[in-house]
């Protein structure tokens, strides 16, 4: 037992630089950002005197940031939901002993190798409405009217009208704020969802396909013998077995969607009335264009908290899983 002690020291010594790097650059800098977010540094010259939570009050009171939060929620729901449905469907199609399986798999997955910037640039042209005289992109291909199919340039926000029946009921029970555009659905965001789903659904397919391949055929056979239909086998046997994969996919897609920046910047940086604006856009503009470093840091802290709420339980869960197996 004498010999390993030198190796032990060596191993810890070789791990230390990485630990310090992660400690400083992940945890240290997060701490520093949190500190900046409570400071007065809202000009070019750093001023670290404390203002408490004033920067947070300022951003949460900011109409644009409120819109950004709404956009993030809408984007997350549709992007995660859409990618899961498309990915799961594709995985099930591919898992049926098809010909040219490799080719289809590669086709569905290649967008993962491309940057969000490239995706954004291409989809910007595919989903640009064009004008009534000159439709472009999908409007041109499918013969759609550019004045009604406006994709990411659509300023419409679908929400419960305040003067409708539901609106008045909500108002009477003190939930009148729900009948406002801040709790609506920005149509323009759905165009971003289409592009994002194009990029990420193949990845979900790959996850599910790996899961489906791990399910023994006997399980399906047994259910078939019991007279279960293919759909109910999927619904009651296969899908529950895929739960860990669904969870992983939701976590991965969810954290991407909460941080989304490159795609919206390339496709539609702000959108009409900030319909495609996201917290990341707001953070960058506030910090590096308007030099409001403390307020920008506050936005970053909010983004971090949103991601952490999703990721930390997941990390704890996967650690438990690993120690239990």
């Amino acid at each position: 037992m004498k010999r390993p002690s030198f190796d032990r020291l060596l191993s810890i010594g070789l791990l230390t630089p990485s630990l310090i790097a992660v400690g400083v650059f992940v945890y240290g800098l997060i701490g520093w950002t949190a500190f900046i977010s409570t400071s007065k540094w809202n000009t070019l010259r750093p001023d670290y005197s404390s203002v408490g939570l004033a920067n947070f009050a300022s951003i949460f009171g900011n109409a644009r940031f409120q819109i950004d939060l709404r956009n993030t929620v809408v984007f997350t729901i549709f992007f995660v939901g859409g990618s899961l449905i498309v990915g799961l469907t594709l995985a099930n199609l591919i898992d049926r002993r098809i010909r040219a399986e490799g080719l289809f798999r590669s086709l569905f997955l290649f967008p993962m190798a491309i940057s969000f910037i490239v995706t954004g640039v291409v989809w910007k042209w595919l989903l640009s409405p064009g004008t009534a005289g000159q439709p472009v992109g999908f409007n041109q291909l499918l013969g759609l009217d550019p004045t009604t199919n406006r994709w990411f340039t659509d300023p419409t926000v679908v929400h419960i009208p305040a003067d409708s029946g539901v609106g008045t009921v909500l108002h009477d029970i003190g939930l009148g704020f729900l009948a406002s555009s801040n709790f609506g659905l920005p149509v323009a965001m759905l165009a971003i969802v289409i592009a994002a789903t194009w990029q990420m659904s193949g990845f979900v397919m790959a996850l599910y396909l790996a899961g489906l391949r791990g399910i023994p055929e006997e399980l399906r056979e047994a259910a078939r013998v019991d007279g279960a239909s293919e759909w109910s086998i999927f619904r009651h046997v296969i899908f529950p077995l895929l739960t860990p994969i669904t969870l992983s996919a939701v976590i991965i897609l969810g954290h991407i969607s909460l941080k989304i920046y490159d795609l919206t910047v390339a496709m539609s940086p702000n959108g009409p009335a900030f319909a495609t604006d996201v917290p990341a856009t707001f953070m960058w503009q506030t910090t590096f264009k308007d030099d409001n470093f403390a307020r920008g840091a506050a936005v970053a802290v909010v983004m971090l908290v949103l991601v952490a709420v999703l990721i930390v339980p997941y990390l704890v869960w996967s650690r438990r899983q690993e120690t239990s197996t």
Binding site: S18, L304, L315
Partner: protein
């Protein structure tokens, strides 16, 4: 023909079921082809636009097939993006190489030289791959300025290496966990130490692991936008930032933008086409727990 089949009445059950199965197969392939079209439409648009000559480009015929083979748009985009393309190579290659080496070492230690608290440390490292980098951007600018690295390529490379540590450590650790401990033990009994075990056992088995991690890191560094747009000055912009700038400008024609997008996508696409298997493995390794 149809008259005779009506006369025959309904087919027996087993024939009907094969007919059903055949119909099912047709629907299955129809759906697959439909999906394939959805994934290929942007590629079609990129390629046909890039191949159209300047005289042939018009919004009215943006879906039309090119009349001939013309690299005019491509050439114009290349003349604008070439320096940035080279910057991207100068950023992505060293970043991928160095963070792979670090990841391999870390993975080896965390998988085979476990100490008390190693798993907790590993989880703490992993958190770093999920954070929104916005939460470190301002301090990074401050640090980079302090050390004279702001705006430079080496500065961006260092950033990619550091924030690449979590994912490369994860992939290598999970890869090494699969190598039986008996192998390590027996060579330790033969007197091999930390370095000898790594060199003689782990490293020779690591080639696929290195391919996976190198591809992964190269792709993420090549595709990065946020770090680059924040930390590099204009002459050091990688191709993603330059492309976004090109596409945001009203002076540059859309066909040149499309050709530029194709140029920016080509290296990682090529890697994907040639080494797709490893790419997918990295994808799954990076997203699932060990």
């Amino acid at each position: 023909m149809s008259a005779t089949s009506i006369e025959l009445g309904p087919a027996p059950a087993h024939i009907r079921s094969t007919w059903f199965r055949r119909l099912g197969r047709v629907v299955l392939y129809a759906l697959l082809v439909l999906a394939a079209i959805y994934y290929l439409v942007p590629v079609y648009m990129l390629v046909v636009t890039s191949l159209k000559g300047v005289t042939e480009v018009s919004l009215a015929r943006m879906w039309a097939f090119p009349q001939g083979f013309n690299l005019g748009s491509f050439g114009e985009a290349w003349s604008k993006l070439a320096p940035n393309f080279i910057n991207s190579l100068l950023i992505a290659i060293p970043a991928a190489a160095i963070s792979s080496i670090l990841g391999s070492l870390n993975g080896y230690i965390l998988a085979k030289w476990k100490f008390r608290g190693a798993d907790l440390l590993f989880t703490l490292i992993l958190f770093g791959m999920f954070i929104p980098y916005q939460a470190v951007l301002v301090p990074l600018v401050q640090i980079a300025s302090t050390f004279g690295l702001y705006g430079t390529i080496p500065g961006l490379v260092i950033v990619h290496i550091i924030y690449g540590i979590p994912i490369t450590t994860l992939i290598f650790r999970n890869y090494y966990v699969g190598i039986p401990n008996e192998l390590i033990e027996s060579s330790r009994i033969d007197g091999a130490g930390f370095i000898a075990i790594y060199r003689s056992i782990l490293l020779p088995l690591s080639i696929p692991g290195f391919v996976v991690v190198l591809i992964w890191q190269f792709t993420s560094a090549w595709n990065d936008f946020l770090f680059a747009v924040t930390l590099t000055s204009q002459q050091n912009w990688p191709v993603t930032v330059a492309l976004n700038n090109l596409a945001g400008s009203f002076i540059v024609d859309w066909n040149v933008q499309m050709a530029g997008a194709l140029i920016a996508a080509l290296p990682t696409l090529l890697v994907y086409i040639l080494l797709g298997r490893y790419f997918v493995r990295g994808l799954l390794a990076g997203s699932l727990k060990g």
